[in-house]
């Protein structure tokens, strides 16, 4: 978790923006990925049809979640998989710990899983004397740096290659000053190989699970999930209950959308299906709710559960690109994180739905057509009405509505504002005014349009 939990998005974004060059680099890096996504999408004439289909399948899933989950459990049990249900993060973490303890190990490997980040599994296991080695390269990098991932698909996208070189020099003993990505990747591979070979327990996430067969699919580009799962005696897969899809054939829709949306690749390098433990292996699957049922019950926000965690909304978001993932102070940052987080804790994440211009680009790239920017707007209403608006804002808004619903008062206020700007501009042109800090205020016209109209078009006015 970010060590800056108590600051709000605007303050954290302000800190990020103190290094203007880095902001430019961060923006360009992610924009490049957005362009790769566009190119991949435009290669498929049926792209919008795919999005519609994926969205409709997920609608069906959300309306029949109970049946699909029960079917999945039945099939998985038949396949010899041990199925666990966790109501929240705490239960999830306890289940993992109990499995690990039963096998008497103090070290395990884990491939990328945003769910375990959401549940803060790593610190929990560490407190209980279990070392977790993240095997996704990006995750391993942020783990060595003792940071949280800043992006759900590209966990260390906020780090430059020179910083990674320095980190590897410190932790893995690579030569000082070497920042060659290929060299560093090889060093990480070497370092992780030893962990893979010696860890008895492996955790993976789940991208999709299939109700009709009880199998689950894990997508990685590095093959690290496979390496962990195949070399271990115990495979624990952690999934949010919304990851379920009805039938295997539906993967044909989702796998085509997932990586094109995420990075612009036609498909992930590894889309691995796990159905039953190999002889002598134990396979566990933990089905986690952690607020998802609550979100399902919120009519206006249930669609957020369609998310397949591709990160396209991050890459396209002009705010995310210029504020960095850590400014969202939650495991899942970006636009989708801003509509998921308030469901977990309205007070702690009341700032996130306001960290947007409501430009709508997120909804346009979303492969499952979540109306993200409309949900941001709706969360603002819910948060204010639930009492999470700052008091100063409340008073300002009340005054504004009072004035704007009274034409005569509006005219006086407008005149006063224009008079102030024209005659005593220092009242507003100062450092206390966030507009004026880096922008000039508009030049003051002689009269308002209303005044001009009254003077020039009097005969025509109704």
């Amino acid at each position: 978790m970010s060590n800056a939990q108590h600051k709000e998005h605007a303050a954290l974004a302000n800190e990020f923006n103190k290094d203007a060059t880095r902001v430019g680099w961060h923006d360009e890096t992610l924009w490049w990925i957005r362009q790769k996504r566009d190119k991949a999408a435009h290669h498929l004439p049926e792209w919008e049809q795919l999005r519609n289909t994926a969205s409709a399948i997920k609608d069906n899933v959300l309306s029949n979640l109970h049946e699909y989950l029960c079917s999945f459990e039945e099939q998985a049990l038949r396949n010899g998989v041990q199925v666990h249900w966790a109501a929240d993060a705490k239960e999830h973490n306890e289940i993992v710990l109990s499995i690990v303890r039963r096998h008497g190990v103090n070290r395990m490997v884990k491939s990328k899983s945003m769910l375990t980040e959401e549940c803060h599994l790593n610190p929990y296991l560490q407190e209980h004397g279990i070392e977790v080695i993240d095997t996704d390269l990006g995750e391993r990098i942020v783990q060595l740096a003792e940071e949280a991932p800043s992006h759900i698909v590209l966990p260390c996208i906020h780090k430059k290659k020179e910083e990674i070189g320095a980190l590897f020099h410190e932790h893995l003993g690579t030569p000082e000053g070497n920042a060659d990505p290929q060299f560093l990747t090889a060093a990480a591979r070497e370092h992780l190989r030893e962990k893979f070979l010696t860890c008895k327990v492996a955790i993976t996430g789940v991208n999709f699970s299939v109700a009709e067969t009880g199998e689950f699919v894990v997508c990685t580009n590095e093959g690290n999930a496979d390496m962990g799962a195949h070399l271990s005696d115990v495979h624990i897969a952690c999934m949010g209950i919304e990851k379920i899809i009805p039938q295997r054939k539906h993967l044909g829709v989702f796998l085509r959308l997932l990586t094109r949306s995420a990075t612009g690749q036609p498909i992930t390098t590894y889309s691995s299906h796990f159905r039953k433990p190999r002889p002598g292996q134990e396979m566990h699957i933990i089905l986690v709710d952690n607020g998802r049922s609550r979100q399902l019950g919120r009519d206006e926000f249930r669609n957020s559960l369609k998310c397949i965690r591709c990160g396209a909304c991050f890459n396209t978001c002009p705010v995310y690109r210029r504020s960095g993932g850590h400014s969202y102070h939650t495991a899942i940052a970006g636009p989708i994180g801003s509509i998921l987080a308030p469901n977990l804790d309205m007070k702690a994440y009341a700032d996130l739905p306001f960290a947007s211009t409501l430009c709508g680009s997120c909804s346009n790239v979303c492969p499952v057509k979540i109306d993200i920017h409309e949900q941001l707007y709706k969360w603002r209403q819910v948060l204010v009405q639930s009492g999470y608006a700052p008091v100063v804002k409340k008073m300002g808004m009340a005054g504004m509505t009072f004035t704007l619903s009274r034409p005569a008062l509006y005219k006086i206020a407008g005149k006063a504002a224009r008079w102030t700007l024209g005659h005593v501009p220092f009242v507003v042109n100062n450092k206390l005014n966030p507009w004026y800090h880096q922008r000039e205020l508009p030049e003051v016209p002689e009269s308002s349009f209303g005044e001009w109209y009254a003077k020039n078009r009097k005969k025509k006015s109704s």
Partner: protein, 246 residues
């Protein structure tokens, strides 16, 4: 055809020339235009801040001012989108629904309703078109780079009728400028950075002027341009289409 002219509050107070250009442009097309003098604001600043429940007074006032026109036209995609999506009134819901269907942003009114095919206007400059998000993604005034769909642009269609005007190509065709209503002060750092990046795109590609169908985006970018003493200026699309000189 009787059109109610809806002039957004910040245009009324700070950019009256945009209201005048809109009025004249519509009159030149032979439209009878009436400006209801008791209008104030659409209520969007409150609603986008999470206070939609306080906009009832604004909504009722808007309905009193604008019910009964054949069309309602405003030189702002953002304010029009707000009315289209959020104008409701417990007592007058039928009237509110009628207005929601009759409110148009200026450029879409010119291309779709009046079906304008030519304009008497000359603007011999390099112009960058800023696609304001609410007009583009909300009202669908233009195609969007995210979607796999045919490309079109109602504002561009009109700018191409202006003689001498050279439309420049931007590196990022439809990225937000960062104004975002109250976002521009609550998230000042990101807002300004977004504005700076947008302006840089126009400047790199040789713009003399930045235009848009929304004055709020232009006000934000103008603030940054003037602070930097840039020679690049902003001009609302209504002023250019109305044939005004630079």
């Amino acid at each position: 055809m009787k059109v109610g002219l809806f002039v957004p509050c910040y245009i009324d107070q700070f950019y009256p020339q945009v209201g005048i250009a809109t009025l004249e442009l519509l009159e030149k097309q032979g439209v009878e235009v009436v400006y209801p003098p008791k209008q104030t604001c659409c209520g969007q600043p409150m609603a986008n801040s999470g206070f939609e429940h306080l906009t009832q007074g604004c909504n009722e006032l808007f309905i009193r001012n604008f019910y009964g026109f054949d069309y309602i036209v405003a030189p702002s995609g953002s304010c029009v989108l707000h009315i289209k999506e959020h104008l409701h009134a417990a007592k007058d819901e039928a009237k509110a629904a009628d207005i929601r269907n009759k409110v148009y942003e200026l450029t879409e009114f010119l291309t779709d309703i009046l079906q304008v095919e030519s304009l008497v206007a000359n603007f011999p400059y390099k112009v960058g078109l800023h696609q304001s998000c609410h007009g583009q993604r909300g009202l669908k005034l233009s195609g969007m780079t995210e979607l796999v769909a045919p490309s079109f642009s109602k504002p561009e269609q009109l700018l191409k009728m202006v003689s001498g005007l050279e439309l420049i190509t931007l590196n990022r065709k439809d990225e937000c400028c960062g104004f975002g209503g109250t976002f521009c002060v609550t998230e000042e750092a990101v807002s300004v950075r977004m504005g700076q990046d947008r302006i840089a795109d126009h400047i790199t590609n040789g713009a003399d002027f930045i235009t848009a169908a929304d004055m709020s985006c232009l006000m934000h970018m103008e603030g940054i341009l003037r602070r930097r003493k840039s020679p690049v200026k902003v001009k609302h699309i209504a002023e250019i289409l109305n044939g005004e000189a630079a």
